[in-house]
Amino acid sequence: MNIDKDLVAASATPLVLAILAESESYGYAILKRVREISDGELEWTDGMLYPLLHRLHRLGYVTREWRIPSEERRRRYYAITDEGHAALAEHKRQWMTVAKALGDAWGGGDLLPVAFGRA
């Protein structure tokens, strides 16, 4: 299935924030997690994640820090802030509203909200 570009773009911020809410992470691992969660349906252009992370950092939603894990390369880790949690909650609220409206319109009531993690 090919998901519309605008839809992918709109869901990018909440998705990244939700992944960082699970645990702190770094770019490549975040993308792997996106594929995992969406069963490979959400195809991002990998590079686009980094400008997005920049934006989230500028807005104060995430903190970032260079660290040197086991290997010799250093790596930039991202962690969600309180503001990021608040933004995520707001995103959730908006998506739930949209999902509920769509669910009602399609007569399938509770199907979409389930997909958003709250029945």
């Binding site: 490549y28 993308l31 252009t45 590079g47 686009m48 980094y50 920049h54 500028r58 807005l59």
Partner: protein, 446 residues
């Protein structure tokens, strides 16, 4: 493996060419690329294949750097989308458009100036209406350039009509202080009105508001430059023609009005068209003047904290202080708008904080004296306007000082500081409008 390293090296060099992607971002992207290559090789691909696929997955570097640039600052992005051939044609058209509006403003102002009678500057009608004769053309220029819809044109025009009615229908007592206050606050109000077409009608966007702040600062610099050039020109003309028996007053009367009105639009056009020129110059000017102002303010704060303000305080000094505080706020605002929001705290931010805190101390002293004075002698139009302005400045400075201190301490982001400024900005416009519209009737137009 060596071959792969070479290929990664080449890729890195290519990415580094992009001005929008800084070294650390490149490092981060390279880290990503290496992870991807490692995973793909593990899945059985050769290093070569893995590299190709990893690069392809990462996406077009052009697109990524454009996205970075858009994120880093609105302006860099505009630079990246460099003008193509068709844009150049556009520039030609805009040039004519700007000239048209400039001439219209110049002619209107010149006619009004002559109609107001001689000796010039004597008529309070002209003083009151000066900004109304020029700024509608600036608004019109932006309306045309941004191709606003008819609804937006109406929204732009309405405040001008209201202002024209208010300023001419109110029965001001000639030479009274409410008239002077209205005349001096009206340009501020109308400048905020110009913001609407400038921002394409999107007034809630913080980025667009910041753009307008930047525009205001750059417009001011261009206007000063043009005025200086014009001054030299007029001076030389006088020197050349006076011996030939030409009356200097005649030249002043025919050149100054249309020149100063037309320059308003020409400066705006220059800001938008020759942006790269001013972009390089304006940050340098702020970099030079912010420390100087910080030094001067800190000195003044110390002096007046020791000697006390009460003795020296009079109306002129109050005016000087208010002008100083407004200039400081302008400098801070422009400094913030021209700064790269992603950079960490630096020495310029510290100096700016010194300037802001000193200004705060001065403002507090002014407020103290003013409240005491009002308590003693009661409200007058001038005192009310000054008190209001100082309270607004005080709140703005407190917020700025607090947020930049937190930013310097690493407890807050620069974005917060930017947002505070852009959120607070309309308050000044509303206050200026209140001084024009509400204050005169309150003090029965005295």
């Amino acid at each position: 493996m060596d071959q792969l390293e070479l290929e990664i090296e080449g890729w890195r060099a290519f990415v580094e060419q992009s001005p929008a992607v800084d070294g650390r971002d490149v490092e981060e992207l390279e880290d990503h690329l290496r992870d991807q290559i490692a995973d793909l090789t593990e899945a059985g691909l050769t290093a070569d294949e893995a590299f190709l696929i990893a690069v392809k997955r990462l996406g077009s570097i052009d697109e990524i750097s454009r996205e970075f640039a858009r994120e880093n600052s609105g302006r860099l992005w505009r630079q990246l989308t460099a003008p193509g051939a068709s844009d150049l044609e556009q520039t030609g058209r805009w040039w004519r458009q700007a000239l048209l509006f400039a001439i219209a403003a110049a002619v209107t102002f010149q006619i009004a100036f002559l109609a107001a009678g001689t000796p010039p500057g004597d008529s309070s009608w002209l003083v009151r209406n000066a900004s109304l004769l020029v700024l509608p053309f600036l608004a019109g220029y932006f309306v045309a350039r941004r191709r606003l819809s008819w609804n937006q044109v109406l929204v732009t025009a309405a405040p001008f009509v209201v202002a024209a009615v208010v300023i001419n229908v109110y029965p001001f007592i000639d030479g009274g202080s409410t008239e002077l206050l209205a005349a001096s606050h009206l340009p501020v109000v109308l400048w905020f009105v110009v913001a609407y077409p400038y921002m394409n009608g999107v007034t809630r966007s913080h980025e667009r508001r910041m753009d307008f702040v930047r525009f205001t600062g750059e417009w001011f610099i261009y206007y000063v430059l043009i005025s200086l050039g014009g001054g030299v020109l007029v001076g030389l003309t006088l020197a050349v023609l006076e011996p030939a028996g030409v009356d200097p007053d005649q030249i002043a009367q025919w050149v100054l009005p249309w020149g100063s009105a037309g320059a308003v639009i020409v400066a705006a056009w220059l800001v938008e068209t020759k942006q790269r020129v001013i972009e390089n110059m304006a940050p340098v000017l702020t970099m030079v003047f912010t420390p100087l102002f910080a030094l001067m303010l800190a000195g003044a704060a110390v002096v007046y904290a020791v000697t006390g303000l009460g003795g020296a305080f009079n109306r002129e000094l109050l005016g000087v202080f208010d002008a100083l505080l407004v200039v400081v706020l302008g400098l801070v605002l422009y400094g913030i708008s021209a700064r790269d929001p992603l950079q960490g705290p630096g020495w310029m931010d510290r100096i700016q904080l010194v300037a802001v805190v000193s200004a705060l101390v001065l403002d507090l002293m002014v407020l103290g004296v003013m409240v005491a004075r009002i308590g003693e002698l009661g409200f007058t139009p001038n005192r009310t306007a000054a008190l209001g302005l100082n309270i607004l400045l005080f709140v703005s400075l407190v917020g700025t000082a607090w947020l930049s201190a937190r930013f310097l301490a690493g407890q807050s982001t620069f974005n917060r500081l930017e947002r505070w400024q852009t959120t607070y900005l309309p308050v000044f416009g509303v206050w200026a409008a209140a001084v024009v519209v509400v204050l005169p009737p309150l003090f029965s137009f005295s």
